[in-house]
């Protein structure tokens, strides 16, 4: 924990918002999956989402670039403001939203094409006219993968190890320099060494990118997140509805949580 983090102002203060998410309800069909979760993703920071299984942290993350639109019956009540525009407003094309807000998934999912083509995919998709080769190299360097693959750019992305594949997916996502990067448990399929590399990478990427990170591992949030949002699940009301319990600077959440539930979760009473 560096002192720089401690000196930062409290969350929800003057710092600039990349995404201001004010979810009042998210439904899958008739099932109320998430309620009352206002999450502010601050520019240039890593925001960690933690909480037990089924607490809706992934659902909220995937609502930030309309990935949930792929799921039948998904419905969101509330607003998700990105650069002052509600991405759920009528007339907003989810495809455009996803081009500005990139995503890295739980399972490494490179395309069945060469390493080079994987990274160039987004550039070609966005009709980039400049030097694609240079951008590919830059993205691979950014993802700390360049030295390992520079001699085999023509090899299939699927020939890499799991950790390398995940870094390739990060390179693919950052190649087009999206405004925000969403990461949905990016290390859950990786071994500890690969996990460490990806965590280091997130801290480096923070200089240029705003990152929202869902993690099942609260120590990971503690290691990399500036701001942490703790979600939990509401079983008292009969359903299994997730909601935001509290959100604040990572140090405050882990050392001085305001809510009893947060305290119990951090202590390891439930998971």
């Amino acid at each position: 924990m560096s002192t720089a983090v401690l000196e930062r102002p409290q969350a929800h203060s003057a710092s600039e918002a990349a995404i201001n998410c004010r979810v009042s309800k998210i439904f899958y069909g008739k099932f109320l999956a998430v309620r009352d979760s206002d999450v502010l993703i601050e520019k240039g920071k890593i925001t960690g989402f933690i909480g037990p299984s089924g607490c809706g942290k992934s659902t909220v993350l995937r609502s930030l670039n309309r990935m949930n639109d792929l799921i039948k019956g998904f419905r969101l009540e509330g607003e998700v403001d990105f650069l002052g525009q509600d991405i759920y407003a009528k007339g907003v094309d989810p495809v455009v939203v996803r081009r500005h807000i990139g995503m890295v998934f739980q399972q490494p999912n490179p395309f069945s094409m060469s390493i080079y083509d994987n990274v160039a995919f987004g550039l070609k998709l966005n009709r980039y006219k400049g030097d694609i080769e240079e951008k590919v190299e830059h993205a691979l360097r950014r993802a700390a993968l360049w030295d390992e693959v520079k001699d085999k750019l023509k090899a299939s992305g699927l020939s890499l190890s799991g950790g390398q594949q995940q870094r390739l997916c990060i390179a693919r996502a950052v190649a087009t320099q999206p405004a925000v990067l969403l990461m949905d448990e990016p290390c859950s399929a990786l071994d500890p060494i690969a996990t460490r590399r990806v965590e280091e990478l997130m801290l480096e990427l923070k200089d240029d990118y705003t990152i929202a990170l869902v993690t099942h591992n609260m120590q990971q949030a503690r290691r990399v997140a500036d701001v942490t949002a703790f979600f939990s699940v509401d079983i008292s009301r009969g359903g299994r509805t997730g909601y935001l319990v509290e959100m604040g600077q990572t140090d405050q959440i882990f050392e001085d949580p305001h809510e009893q539930l947060t305290k119990e979760y951090i202590r390891g009473d439930f998971s």
Binding site: L70, V96, F121, L158
Partner: protein, 322 residues
């Protein structure tokens, strides 16, 4: 028989399998092995038998048989180049049409374009096409397809007769009706295997594509179909294999004329159709020549099917590894 463990304190309910279980096990293994061996033996026997009967013709006609263009029973001079040409030409054209339509159908049925129930109905209907007897397709071709395409064929020949494909007028049976019916006949093969291949593409790959901000068609054409390309190509190869060997419908529709022509409207012939039409009245010498032709057809279809199966095996391994 298995060694016993000295654990007879009467507390455990565990027992070794009965003698009967071992016998059944063994019998099943032997039956399965015998069945597998029979299939191999059968293929070898067919090759042996056809090869043996074709041998006199192979010695007499030699490789010239493959490039001669006449099938003359009087002079006993035989050649199957027109039939090889007709077989490959009709099959390739059918593959072009049936392949394109089949893959398109596979995409539409697997990528949530239709409500689930309707997709299931469509899938069943297409699979039922495979159950229609070949002779019924042939009759349908004669009584429906030929009259149906005649106006268009006449018009094309009048307006664009200088293009070799439309160089002759449609006299009735010919390449065009044969190709149309053949395309429909290979449709179920192509559509079914392509559907399996496309369904095999993991959801996470689709998700990755949408996550990059692709539109639906970009996701399908740039990511999903390329990922399934191995399975799709093997569906095309297997469909091609089916087209090569199709007999009855073609014998009824292709016109059985031993000539080489690019024209879609002129009659032609295929190997399978030659065999079906000429066998009943063939004398000994012609019969041997027909056996030689059968051997050539067998070789062509065998090679094509082996290639298709290899592609399928190779790519499903690749996808599973992913």
């Amino acid at each position: 028989m298995a060694i016993q463990f000295a654990l007879q304190d009467g507390k455990s309910l565990s027992q070794r399998p009965s003698i009967a279980a071992y016998v059944v096990d063994r019998a099943f293994f032997l039956a399965a092995g015998l069945g597998a061996f029979t299939i191999v033996a059968l293929v070898a026997y067919i090759l042996w038998e056809i090869g043996g009967q074709a041998l006199p013709a192979v010695i007499k006609n030699g490789p010239q048989f493959l490039v001669n263009t006449h099938w003359n029973v009087q002079n006993q001079s035989f050649g199957i180049l027109p039939q090889i040409w007709g077989t490959l030409y009709s099959s390739l054209l059918a593959l072009l049409i049936g392949g394109f339509v089949g893959v398109t159908i596979a995409i539409i049925l697997t990528q949530d374009f239709l409500p689930h129930q309707i997709a299931v109905v469509f899938r069943t209907l297409i699979e039922m096409l495979a159950a229609i007897p070949s002779v019924v397709f042939g009759l349908w071709g004669i009584f429906v397809v030929i009259p149906f395409i005649r106006p268009a064929a006449d018009w094309l020949h009048d307006v664009a007769g200088f293009i070799p494909f439309f160089g002759t007028s449609l006299s009735g049976p010919g390449m065009a009706p044969a190709v149309i019916v053949l395309a429909i006949m290979i449709l179920p093969t192509v559509a079914a295997i392509s559907q399996d291949a496309i369904s095999l593409v993991p959801y996470k790959v689709k998700e990755a594509a949408y996550g990059m901000g692709t539109t639906r068609w970009e996701a399908i054409l740039k990511v999903i179909v390329p990922t399934a390309s191995g399975g799709i190509s093997s569906s095309l190869v297997l469909g091609f294999g089916r087209a090569l060997g199709e007999t009855m419908a073609l014998a009824m529709l292709i016109g059985n004329a031993n000539q080489i022509s690019l024209s879609l409207f002129s009659p032609a012939n295929t190997l399978a159709s030659l065999l079906a039409s000429n066998f009943p009245e063939a004398g000994q010498i012609e019969r041997q020549a027909l056996m030689y032709a059968a051997l050539v057809l067998l070789a062509i279809t065998l090679v094509v099917n082996v290639i298709g199966t290899l592609i399928l095996a190779w790519t499903s391994r690749k996808i599973v590894k992913a």
